[in-house]
């Protein structure tokens, strides 16, 4: 049995004729220390999936286990980095991270907790900004605080929900490099949710596409057997990169096309409308 395992996970919102299936029959096994990227359309239910793994949402059916134990609620063994940073605006960088450290390592001495916090502030290169509040930071810096907060809990699994989605391309590239470095150093199990195939190719050991809504399910695994560190520039030429990218994208396009064919049968839901045009996809928030 895999370290983190999802079996037959289903989730829908609403009831009766209003019911909309978000996830259907999700099966996924992630080994310890593995970096898995889940790539899918906006609105396909990626955030729902990660919320279930985080324990913030309960699946309607199916099991989620971590190291053999069923996941029923959030816990410090799973560090989550939310899409929109979720920093507390009245706390500075240090105290946003300290809040987590204080909670997870409650029995440590204050000095040890502070030292631990400082270590993670330094890990994401924010020591000079330690006293600043989130409002004074750029988007990239805020996201680094959120990453540091999740890492400082020393979780067994790091769940990243489109952590770089809101950033400009340059900052995004910098933070991708930083995530790659952090993963190399910490050897944590990571699940990265993203809508960017290249981000997955750059960072992950394995890419699993999530099909189009409604009732999205996971596609086949694409192993990224490319040595690290990976060179962003080489991605445009390396045939292995190209083949993987084509494979993932073709699967995703095929899944959307298949949803479109089935639409008259399933009823024209909003989600299906969206998936019919991946170019115009937008984020459908979890209610």
């Amino acid at each position: 049995m895999a370290f983190l395992e999802l079996r037959g996970v289903c989730k829908s919102y609403g009831q009766g004729p209003e019911e909309s299936h978000v996830l259907k029959g999700i099966d996924l096994g992630v080994e310890k220390g593995e970096f898995v990227a889940i790539v899918g359309y906006s609105g396909a239910g990626k955030t729902t999936l990660i919320s279930i793994i985080a324990g913030l949402l309960a699946p309607d059916r199916g099991d989620v286990t971590l190291d053999g134990r069923a996941i029923r609620e959030p816990g410090p063994d799973r560090g989550v980095v939310f899409q929109n940073y979720s920093l507390l605006p009245w706390l500075d960088v240090f105290h946003n991270i300290y809040l987590a450290v204080d909670q997870v390592f409650a029995d440590w001495s204050v000095e040890k907790k502070k030292e631990h916090t400082r270590k993670y502030v330094a890990m994401v290169n924010l020591t000079p900004a330690s006293q600043k509040r989130p409002a004074e930071l750029s988007g990239g810096m805020r996201q680094r605080v959120a990453v540091a907060r999740a890492l400082a809990m020393e979780p067994e699994v790091l769940l990243l929900d489109e952590p770089l989605g809101a950033l400009d391309a340059l900052t995004r590239a910098t933070l991708q490099a930083e995530l790659a470095r952090i993963h190399q150093v910490s050897k944590k199990t990571v699940i990265l949710i993203t809508n960017d195939v290249d981000e997955g190719l750059l960072l992950a050991d394995r890419i699993v596409p999530l099909g189009a809504a409604p009732a999205a399910s996971l596609g086949p695994s694409f192993s990224v057997d490319i040595e690290r560190p990976r060179d962003r520039k080489a991605m445009n030429h390396d045939p292995r990169f190209k083949a993987l990218r084509t494979g993932v994208i073709e699967w995703l396009v095929e899944s959307a096309a298949e949803r479109r064919r089935r639409r008259p049968v399933e009823g024209a839901t909003k989600a299906a409308e969206m998936s019919s045009n991946p170019e115009m996809a937008y984020e459908q928030e979890v209610p």
Partner: protein, 261 residues
């Protein structure tokens, strides 16, 4: 705020209000010398009020004290009623914010009690407490509580789900979630409520003192009306306005310090 910023460069904020004030005084003088014979003129108001302004803390007798001394009595009374309103209103608002059941049960009642005038609460206070002093405080509390209740509830309801998720992921206890997440997140809204409540408390004081005859700026106003010293009515109105304005500025200042972009 933008006002203060531009004020650093040009003195509009100083001479324009002065100009407005002078215009009003001239208008007042014209009205009192032509159509409204019984309205004291500005000059006369100043002459008659002078001892109360120049010796603002003087106590010459129970009914004859400096204007700031009367104001002080009123402020103490407001402080008592207002504190009561905050102490009772904040938790009620909190429950309204966190519990839909509680909100559905009590929101209609609050909406009905909210517009009730201080003049209506005061007699009930007198019946309940028998004495004018607690009745006045009761009235102030009953009237000024609602903005605190409603804004606290709004503040708690508008706490972003993100912050609650953080609390859940960190598995903060209920108490810790309250202190570390809910309270700081709702505080800016709560303070808006506190400021509006203080404004109402100050409005109510005049009515409460008029009806109970308690010494204070409102009581003085009513007493001078009965004594036919109309100049002092104007003195009281101006004082009440100034104090209310200062209280509001004070609370706005505190509020601005709590705002987090």
């Amino acid at each position: 705020m933008s006002n203060a910023k531009s004020g650093a460069r040009n003195p509009d904020w100083l001479y324009l209000p002065l100009l407005g004030g002078v215009a009003i005084v001239i208008g007042w003088a014209l009205v009192s010398s032509s159509v409204a014979e019984s309205l004291p003129s500005p000059l006369r108001t100043w002459q008659i009020s002078k001892p109360y302004i120049l010796a603002p803390f003087e106590k010459r007798g129970e009914l004859d004290q400096g204007i700031l001394r009367f104001t002080w009595y009123s402020l103490i009374r407001v402080a008592k009623g207002y504190s009561l309103a905050i102490v009772v209103g904040t938790p009620i608002g909190f429950f309204l914010g966190v519990s839909t059941l509680f909100a559905k049960s009590f929101d209609p009642i609050i909406q009905i009690l909210r517009p009730v005038s201080p003049l209506a609460w005061l007699p009930l206070g007198l019946v309940l407490f028998g004495k004018p002093e607690p009745a006045g405080i009761f009235t102030i509390a009953m009237c000024s509580m609602w903005p605190t209740v409603l804004n606290t509830a709004l503040g708690v309801r508008s706490i972003p789900q993100d912050y609650l998720n953080v609390a859940k992921v960190l598995r903060l206890s209920r108490g810790k979630t309250l202190v570390k997440v809910l309270l700081p997140a709702a505080l800016p809204y709560m303070f808006t409520g506190f400021r509006l409540s203080l404004g109402i408390a100050w409005l109510v004081i005049v009515a409460a003192e008029m009806l109970t005859g308690a010494p204070g700026v409102g009581g003085f106003l009513w007493q001078e009306y009965n004594a036919l010293i109309y100049e002092h009515i104007i003195l009281c109105i101006i004082t009440i306005g100034f104090v209310g304005f200062l209280l509001d500025r004070l609370m706005s200042g505190l509020e601005a310090r709590l705002k987090i972009a």
